[in-house]
Point group: C2
Chain length 578, copies 2
């Protein structure tokens, strides 16, 4: 039924047919995600609501924005992407997030939390300015509801004087269970279903901002959703509405319903290849260090276990803070706790650290405070695509004064960098990818700003690289080149900032090549270029060019983007034959 | 009385003496600020509250965080900085903002809005972890209360399980009158003073997050403030309190009370030197362009008139949006309006654009939308110091794919860049300083990515610079060098991204020198260094080194930091005599 469905056909279906359609969607999503990886439980919870939305509203004339966007699978299946659905999140396949480039039914690209209310307000405001007539709808989970952007958007609703529909899809979870007072408040609203007067009083918080509040309803009851949306659609002519619904994350599949956190995102990484995850090392090492150092506190923004900090949080609850999806607030908490002599570690995915840019500058580095940023999923992050790549962090961090940036070559070095951090009394960023596949033989002492020579060559080529992925490519290239009688020097640039000027200056006679899992501009290569300015050096940088990087596995993308052993080898061989 | 006052002395004063102290503080602040420039009306409104805080609490043991921090002048006068007070905001003088480096009474540096609640929560949490006992207090204006950070902090109060005091200093203004539903809500609370039952109902919004709400009181009534704070101090042992007070911005001086917006910040720039402000050109040009182009909308975050957009907002209210201090939300509004075919201009100070970093990446550039960022106060911004310098923007923008960056050499070129922008269909950033002093003779057509040769030299030195300030230094240096028989080529790098590779490659035989009013890393020089990598070119970059830049005038700071005609001339002369 789903394969060739159109909006028009869907609108002619009976309830029974629509229910069957839901079951088919649920089955396709489960089958596909278990194969390709992706977001499972959140999408299973959204099936009925999505079908009801398509039944009641007129897309693409009406506009639908998904907050974060990971819950849009049913929407994709209903809008002409059934046949490509098994390519989801794979290289050259369809995206796991809404994508304007992919379909006119995807009106706004999302990826980071909390943007949907602002986006739908902008869309509605533009509609009003243009004198057009359509409905603007955002679907947002209760996890995103913690983000400060929501408040900024709410605060401007009356000011913008426009009408939108917000569907608050409440499943009590983001990736992890939702925390915070807003969440408790939503729980109160949900519990109050039978006590109308009490609920009305509670709903005042939304009405204060100009929304009519309507809730709480069962978002997995298709018929109820269709009726409710039909009713709300009429009200949108005159007012903005928050429709509060409850859905069951993982709905329909017992293993998802039972463990929605573990099935929020399904990974298809080949576990046998992975020796030790960086997140595991973070958790173990920080837990160990915290035993002796009472100043250590750990702060996260809604992804404690994916960051490896589950054990730390269990062992030291009084020194652990998960603030929900509030990256800016988390950053300032770290800075302010550091002003009182504590030693905060803020663990975060690279892509989400972008939210804290101003606070890293002003609060952490401007006050030169000993906060350690543990930046996970740095470099190419893979299947989530453009909005989740961690390829900007070296660039936006290296421009900040007072910040030291370290990049471990493997999990062992990461452990020693964390030990180093515990006595380091200034802002420090440590960035690392998800997977730790290789352990290098050399393990010399970590000294601030000092690099490490991993291979001594014959003095013609010095390849400087940072991080496990880049160094792995360099080592593979070194081996290939050895077969051609060329022995390159390989240097582990543990510290991207400060760079090891002394070692660099000692390489004056060599042809310097840089390799990194980051954009060129502002990264390791760029820093070395600036250091070498005016010295007439021959340099070659392997890094990502100035373009957004689509989804794909780190290995295939690095290959495609030319940060690979193949390119390094070819470059050196070509240079030899010049 | 104020000159040598200590905390102990202040606590022994009679009410009458304290009132006299307030008058003295008010007099000193007014006299000083009218001479040195600075924040006037907000500080006048804060005198009684600050004296009451110092009377009731025990600083520096207790901790006091000022949101934004511009209202801390009385606090500085009371804490040993009376004798340096006339150096405020001047080079090597005391800061106009709280500064840990300056006094143990300044516990947390601020500058950007909305950080104080997070900071005071972090300080209180650290206190609890360490088992210490002191009070943690934040003073925040109603303008900052619009920022999303407030919500993130509120949302985590119960989670952090700690007690703080927030003093909501409500004067109905940030720099401009406060907007938004939260502001309307605060107004309702204020009007309800006589109707206790109604007020209690309204106060629920704060209690929902775990604060006890206490308000509204007259913050300019010293005795009332002392009594109220004494009472609240007791309550802090058991709960967190929001104390809502009303103060009169500009209190005590009729010309401030009458026009608090104009006297929020007093500037001492010598008006006769300034030919035309960039902000004025922005306003006029955009208003003119909007006449013919109905797609044009203007968005600001609480500083419409300082950005020059007063006229635009008056003439096109339906195409104007000021969202209050919500930089992230403003950015997404622009992106989403652009998805609907509008042409949004987001005008903002460089330093505050840092808050939108993630949204510029994901929402604007990730979707490749035609939003124009009009970045005012770029480069060294002067007397506000470290937290307000606009020296990072070229660096954090140049790393973002899909973004074009333009830097006008003077106000005329700025006008033509805005004309260029109106038919440019992709993300564009235009950055400029506050003052437009000089108008260059050459005014060639703006072509994407093309630079302009302003002086043709004798082929030995090519100086590439962007922006009026840098080019002004270069022209002055060119003149000096002419006296030595050296004729340099001067190039206006109008586009920092994309750079003019063709022109650059045509300069291969010349010694290239770059000059800019920005950090080196990621800026114009850095981009040119990367372009030239491997080409064995001799390059020299004049830009700011990797350090925070303290307060001072742009001219004196550029001189001190070596981005000056003097340094350029000396470098070239030295090179000649080598």
């Amino acid at each position: 039924m789903l394969e060739h469905i159109t909006e028009a056909q869907l609108k002619r279906m009976t309830l029974k047919e629509l229910i069957a359609l839901c079951e088919e969607a649920r089955e396709v999503i489960t089958r596909t995600v278990l194969k390709t990886g992706g977001h499972l439980s959140s999408n299973l919870g959204m099936v009925e609501l999505t079908v009801a939305l398509h039944y009641v509203f007129d897309f693409p004339k009406d506009k639908l924005v998904f907050d974060v966007g990971h819950q849009c699978y049913t929407h994709k299946l209903l809008t002409g992407r059934f046949n490509e659905f098994d390519t989801i999140r794979q290289k050259n396949g369809i995206s796991g997030f809404p994508k304007r480039e992919e379909s006119e039914y995807d009106c706004y690209n999302t990826g980071h939390a909390g943007t949907s209310v602002s986006a739908v307000l902008g869309i509605a405001k533009a509609r009003d300015i243009k004198g057009e007539n359509f409905n603007a709808i955002a679907v947002i989970g209760d996890g995103s509801f913690n983000n400060g952007l929501i408040y900024e958007a709410f605060n401007s609703l009356r000011l913008l004087n426009t009408n939108v529909l917000l569907i608050l899809n409440d499943n009590g979870m983001s990736i992890a269970p939702t925390v915070g007072s807003m969440h408790e408040y939503l729980e109160i609203l949900s519990e109050d279903m039978a006590q109308k007067s009490k609920k009305d009083r509670h709903a005042k918080i939304f009405e204060r901002f100009g929304f009519a509040y309507d809730g709480v309803y069962d978002g997995n009851d298709l018929e109820a959703m269709i009726n409710k949306l039909t009713e709300v659609k009429e009200r949108l002519k005159n007012e903005s509405v928050i429709l509060h619904i409850l859905t069951k994350k993982g709905k329909g599949y017992a293993f998802c319903e039972d463990d929605p956190e573990a099935t929020h995102g399904i990974s298809i990484a080949n576990a046998s290849q992975i020796k030790a995850e960086y997140s595991e090392v973070l958790g173990k090492t920080l837990t160990r260090l915290a035993e002796k150092d009472e100043r250590i506190v750990a702060v996260t923004a809604a992804m404690t276990s994916s960051l490896g900090l589950g054990e730390f949080f269990e062992k030291y609850p009084e020194r652990s803070v998960d603030v929900g999806i509030c990256e800016e607030h988390a950053t300032i908490l770290c800075a302010s706790m550091a002003t009182e002599g504590l030693k905060p570690y803020y663990a975060v995915y690279s892509t989400f650290l972008q939210r804290s840019f101003d606070e890293i500058i002003i609060d952490i580095c401007g006050q030169n405070l000993p906060v350690t940023l543990c930046i996970d999923r740095a470099g190419i992050s893979g299947a989530d695509g453009e909005t989740h790549q961690g390829v900007f962090d070296l660039s936006f961090l290296s421009l900040i004064p007072n910040l030291t940036i370290a990049v471990p070559k493997d999990v062992n070095e990461f452990e020693r960098m964390l030990e180093f951090s515990s006595s380091f009394n200034a802002p420090l960023a440590i960035r690392y990818p998800r997977e730790g596949k290789r352990v290098f033989k050399e393990q010399s002492e970590i000294v601030l700003g000092k690099w490490e020579k991993l291979l001594s060559g014959d003095g013609k080529y010095a390849v400087i690289a940072c991080g496990e992925r880049a160094l792995t490519q360099v080592f593979a290239s070194a081996e290939e080149l050895r077969a051609h009688g060329i022995n390159i020097t390989v240097i582990n640039a543990r510290f991207v900032k400060p760079i090891d000027g002394q070692m660099l200056d000692g390489l004056r006679e060599q042809h310097i090549i840089t390799v990194e899992d980051n954009m060129l501009l502002g990264g390791l290569g760029s820093l070395i270029n600036c250091h070498m300015t005016g010295k007439g050096k021959t340099l070659k940088n392997f890094a990502y060019k100035d373009a957004f990087i689509p989804q794909g596995s780190p290995a295939e993308l690095m290959e495609e983007l030319g940060v690979s052993k193949k390119e390094i080898t070819q470059y050196i061989l070509k240079n030899e034959n010049r």
